[in-house]
Symmetry: D2
Subunit: 208 residues, 4 copies
């Protein structure tokens, strides 16, 4: 890994984008099915969800925009796609299924956006970037699961849409540790600042 | 790694999407600057570029659609973005710079699409998916660099746009080996079939 | 108007795109609120909805893809936008409101896609084009309301996504006649073939 | 027309979105081929181009973001599409053709974005909205041609992306008068504020 870091540093990767003037919190797929280790989750994801509550309360207290995503497929399969072809287990995440409900501790409040998605990225075909434009947001703080799946995809899109992007390392997790770490490395090198929850809260208070 | 595979298998990942009826070849960022180890490249990427020629010639012989991407930023910085903020070295990839020219061996021929991009994904804000629609393509065969950067981002978008997606493992590479392997693992588990060049050529001949 | 036609003809507008190999039917916003003249509709729109049933039944009999759109805003206003800022009457189209339900005669059946949208175009941030890719569709037949609003916007996007596009003149309508006619003129000159229901049904039977 | 206005007013259309905090100027397709009456233009479009210079100079003096679009198709036809299928005359707008060059009076300066497009909307697959995000823009002032074509399509997308949108009636024009007026009516009723150049300049000075 040291060799990898040396190469990346020599070639000019690993910069920072920082915070802009207004941040939104994007909670990606903290739903029962992706938290529970017996369904599509893990203990680490359950812990990341618990850690997230404090961050969510900070965003609420500061009246900053908050968006939650859920994976929701049609009961009758009208919107099945290449993703469900490859991972058929996703099909059980239907509108009323236990698996696709946001975990109780992080239940959305009024005025918080809830996005239904059928892909990896929170931005893909969901109108999320247009909603952020309406809110004059320039910075996305991203939490949720999984680091190697929907977090990675959402982070790349957040940067591509030109949001300064921050991933909170206490509040993202995966179903296995190696992909979690490999993806945080890629993210930090190329797409987003990876910070602790504590540091993010300090920044938000400064920008208030 | 064995543990990781066990968890993914138990949860139903690692399926296949296969080939559809008509494939396009997408060559991502095989430009001088990403091939040369002294700029932003590596020996492995140079080798992947060499391996790609045979595949490209197969697509040409079969008269299948071919698209090349280049990273091109404005000389005066009009389209600099969060990506260049984080990785300033990208700014030297301007229209006429040596670094942003497609490598000689893979020079595009007439009727092959050349896409200028400023982001990671070949699909992001480039119209690539609409061009594939015009060509009645249902399968994207993706090669280029880097595995942990523009390949990963392009593969995720290819699947999100509902193309059956194939990554040719001999024809993708990275500036370091660990990210290359970690990303091929994620890709195979969730987004695309990872096949050898030989197997892809066999499939193309069958579908002819 | 004759002058206008002469200019357009001289400059090479008014071509045809025809039908491809597989058509989908897109029913735009045939919801109670846009049909009823006392809400946001008109007698002409109610008539267009009635005319559409025969066409819908043809698509069902031929087992071709069918997508319906509804305008649906969040009860608490989480996804209000510039459109609702300009046209506040749209805010009453919430998930369970009478106004936002698809009219009884055209109720979606299982396997037909139902899209919730907050903008004019059926394609905008809805994933419709990706769903069409999954179905190998190359031609969109568009009906619904209003001609000068969501039909026009959807038709432009359908062509921009590179679908051969057909507007069925018996099955689109507006809340006033002048905008209906002006927009059908623009559409025919630049974006889509405008055909009668009878002619579309003949074409579908031929392609069967 | 009075009847039409009465219906729209009764149903709650015709609202205003106003100006936000930071405006960008979008100049759509002021290229030789769309200005010259002997190619694809008209005397009215040539006049709108002349009127635009003063507005452009105001944006430059205020150091606000400025983007120009050109229609540019590939010499060899690699990116021909359904639009060129319907309007073959567009194919002559190639990179180096006289027709596709921005008119001399409005030549872009350094740091002004120049977008190449193959569709009607300035936003479609061009990354324009992401560029506006990077510049913290919340309001798009749109000028160019033609009112019933690329202006209408760009205005709808600008609103859909949640920009407050302003069309400058002295600085947009068409190849015929009836479509110009019909489209300004639709735009004002639903998508954007239609203002005189004088009023826009007054607003920009106020917001300075």
């Amino acid at each position: 890994m040291q060799d990898t870091k040396t190469i990346y540093e020599k070639q000019g990767f690993g910069g920072r984008s920082g915070f802009g003037r207004k941040s939104a919190l994007i909670l990606v797929d903290f739903v029962n099915g992706f938290v529970d280790p017996d369904i599509l989750g893990s203990i680490e994801i359950a812990r990341a969800a618990s850690e997230t509550l404090e961050l969510l309360e900070n965003f609420r207290a500061l009246q900053l925009p908050i968006a939650h995503t859920r994976v929701v497929f049609d009961d009758q399969g009208a919107n099945h796609n290449v993703f469900t072809l490859r991972v058929p287990a996703l099909k059980k995440l239907t509108e009323d299924a236990f698996e696709s409900q946001i975990v109780d501790a992080l239940k959305p409040k009024d005025k918080e956006l809830v996005i239904r998605k059928q892909s990896a990225s929170a931005f893909f075909s969901t109108g999320l970037s247009d909603w952020l434009t309406f809110g004059a947001v320039d910075t996305c703080v991203i939490v949720g699961c999984t680091t190697s799946g929907c977090i990675r995809a959402s982070v790349v899109d957040s940067m591509q849409h030109n949001y300064k992007t921050v991933v909170v390392n206490d509040c993202v997790a995966d179903r296995a540790q190696a992909p979690h770490e490999a993806n945080l490395f890629d993210i930090q090198q190329k797409y987003a600042d990876v910070l602790s929850k504590k540091d993010v809260i300090v920044q938000l208070q400064k920008l208030k």
